[in-house]
């Protein structure tokens, strides 16, 4: 009884907050038995409006997610009857050297990619956040990677990375460096892919930071200028702390991004090679499930990947809480 009323209360509060104020009395459909009838009729209408959506969502998001959990306890090749094996898949996966190598590659992608994307995105957003004439047009250039699919970017960048005639090695040769065969070199392929993913990820980061920057009151910046703070100090001591909430969101999105993006990119550009040096966890899962036909082991790996996300998200929340308390 108590929980029920508490629930109803938070429900109403939430709604009032959403609409930016209490609902007008006139929207309240009366009291007593009449009200009860009204609610049930609204319930039917709502059900009809939501059902198609909820069914599709249930069928193609919720059920697969649950099926993934279940499948991780079975051995199955899609054709024969599935065999329940308990935790055997997890055992196999955790003692699988290739899986660990894929995990190490994933961490490498994240270490090389996440912070540079967030920092460069922030700096570029600060740079283009100005009302100077003509900047609006030039700003579109910063969003260009949005229109390019991973497939197209891969075709394009694999050509830019060509050892003999590619633009990268040509530019390096101008400063006297003999560039490597980027995508065919075990130590350079992963950084090369990371650079491309950073390029593809920057627009979203810039857009989100621009939104945060435009919410900083002009007065704060003016006051800092009058106090004689230089451009450098204004950026790192005023702007950066003021967008910290956005930084956390951007960080979370980029962690997810670098957990998933190397999958498509590596599958298309290097097929995980040379010698598995670009095989990230998600690509390895794809291999195990679709190429080796081990659905159960693939699902167990997906569960581990999911756990990893939960842990990382939990860590980011913790950082957020500590910082909010510290402030």
């Amino acid at each position: 009884m108590r929980t029920k009323s508490a629930e109803a209360k938070t429900g109403r509060e939430g709604r009032a907050a959403d609409t930016g104020g209490p609902r007008p009395r006139s929207a309240d459909p009366g009291r007593g038995p009449a009200r009860r009838r009204f609610i049930s009729r609204d319930g039917t209408a709502a059900a009809v409006m939501i059902a198609p959506n909820a069914i599709m969502y249930l069928l193609f998001v919720i059920i697969p997610a649950l099926a993934g959990v279940a499948l991780s306890f079975y051995e199955w090749n899609l054709f024969d009857d599935p065999v329940f094996v308990g935790l055997a898949n997890y055992q196999d996966v955790l003692t699988d050297d290739d899986a660990w190598a894929a995990m190490v590659n994933t961490i490498e992608f994240m270490v090389l990619g996440v912070l540079p994307t967030v920092l460069v995105g922030f700096v570029l957003a600060v740079l283009v956040n100005t009302r100077m004439r003509g900047v609006g047009t030039v700003r579109v250039l910063y969003f260009v990677p949005l229109v390019v699919s991973t497939a197209v970017a891969s075709v394009l960048w694999s050509w830019l990375y060509q050892p003999q005639s590619g633009i990268f090695n040509y530019l390096l040769s101008l400063v006297g460096i003999d560039g490597p065969a980027w995508l065919a070199n075990t130590s350079w392929a992963l950084p090369a892919l990371t650079l491309m993913i950073i390029w593809m990820s920057l627009p979203l980061v810039i857009i989100l930071y621009l939104a945060a920057l435009q919410r900083i009151p002009d007065e704060i910046m003016e006051a800092a200028k009058i106090d004689g703070a230089g451009a450098w100090r204004r950026v790192w001591q005023i702007i950066w702390p003021n967008v910290s909430a956005m930084t956390l969101l951007v960080l979370a999105l980029q962690v997810l991004n670098f957990l998933s993006a190397p999958f498509e990119t590596a599958l298309i550009m290097t097929q995980g090679g040379p010698i598995d040096s670009t095989t990230a966890l998600s690509l390895y899962i794809y291999r195990v499930a679709f190429e080796q036909g081990e659905i159960g082991a693939g699902s167990a790996l997906s569960m581990i990947q999911f756990l990893l996300i939960v842990l990382l998200a939990g860590g980011l929340r913790l950082i957020h809480r500590v910082r909010v308390r510290g402030a």
């Binding site: 409006m49 069928l59 997610a65 260009v144």
Partner: protein, 278 residues
């Protein structure tokens, strides 16, 4: 206090130079799509084609095939239209209709927003396969239509801003909920639809993994799946790189046009929800 001219000039230059660097790969895509095979692999590399070879585009069209190009449109528009049909009413109901459990439903839709699609790729394939849909348009499109969380929450957010008075007025005119949705809510939802459509069209047009997994063979493949093999070194040898670049240009042009015209909505949509659901 006016910034000094030196600072302004430096900033302008930096904005322009970095912008050009960001845009350079796409510029190179367009320019190499018009080069001859010799020019595209010349050293030092050409930035501008010495001569324009328009035949690359007819070759690229032959390589892609009309059906593959059509499939890309069917896939993206299919997802956008079907999702609109189911997400608009649901978003409205969650925002404006009072019923028991609406709060719980909201949580139900919000939970997997941060679940990367490739985590459920294997079971999604299994479910679609069990439904007998692999190798059909339904199997290609419906599983992605099912990812309605982003659309539903975006429309709910938008409908929350509709004044209740409008709905009350319609109710006084004895309009039922469905008439209200069709004649009041949907006609007013232009900005939200534009934001949603521009983000979702871009994302689905550029999808690769699901179309690859769900549509084995050539009949239902989309352009990204046709292009991807060209990025791998051995793939490049089958199709000349200039023709490959022209094929890539063909696949970029529709989405480039959409983006140029809907940029404002795209950005509003991304900012409004904090994520583009990729």
């Amino acid at each position: 206090m006016k910034p000094s001219t030196a600072v302004t000039v430096t900033r302008y230059t930096a904005i322009l130079v970095i912008g050009l660097a960001m845009g350079l790969p796409l510029f190179y895509l367009f320019s190499s799509s018009l080069m001859t095979p010799q020019d595209v692999s010349a050293y030092p590399p050409h930035l501008v084609p010495p001569e324009f070879r328009w035949a690359n585009f007819t070759d690229a069209y032959d390589f892609l095939g009309a059906r593959t190009i059509a499939n890309s449109f069917i896939y993206s528009f299919g997802i956008v239209i079907l999702q609109l049909c189911i997400a608009l009413p649901a978003g409205f109901a969650l925002a404006k209709v009072r019923f028991r459990g609406s709060r719980a439903l909201l949580v139900f839709f919000a939970i997997p927003m941060f679940l990367p699609n490739n985590v459920v790729l294997v079971p999604l394939y299994v479910v679609t396969n069990e439904l007998g849909l692999i190798g059909s348009y339904a199997g290609l499109i419906l599983p992605i239509v099912g990812r309605t969380a982003f659309a539903t929450l975006l429309f709910r957010q938008f409908f929350l801003t509709l004044p209740d008075g409008l709905i009350d007025a319609a109710k006084l005119d004895r309009a039922g909920w469905f008439r209200i949705v069709r004649h009041v809510a949907v006609p007013l939802s232009g900005p939200a639809v534009a934001a949603y459509a521009s983000i979702t069209f871009l994302n689905s047009w550029n999808d690769f993994i699901w179309p690859l997994v769900a549509a084995p063979g050539d009949d239902y493949r989309v352009m990204t799946v046709a292009l991807a093999p060209l990025a791998y070194q051995e793939g490049l040898s089958n199709v000349p790189p200039n023709v490959g670049m022209a094929a890539a240009v063909i696949s970029v042009i529709p989405v480039l046009l959409v983006f140029v015209f809907t940029q404002r909505w795209y950005i509003q949509g991304v900012v409004g929800t904090g994520t583009d659901n990729t």
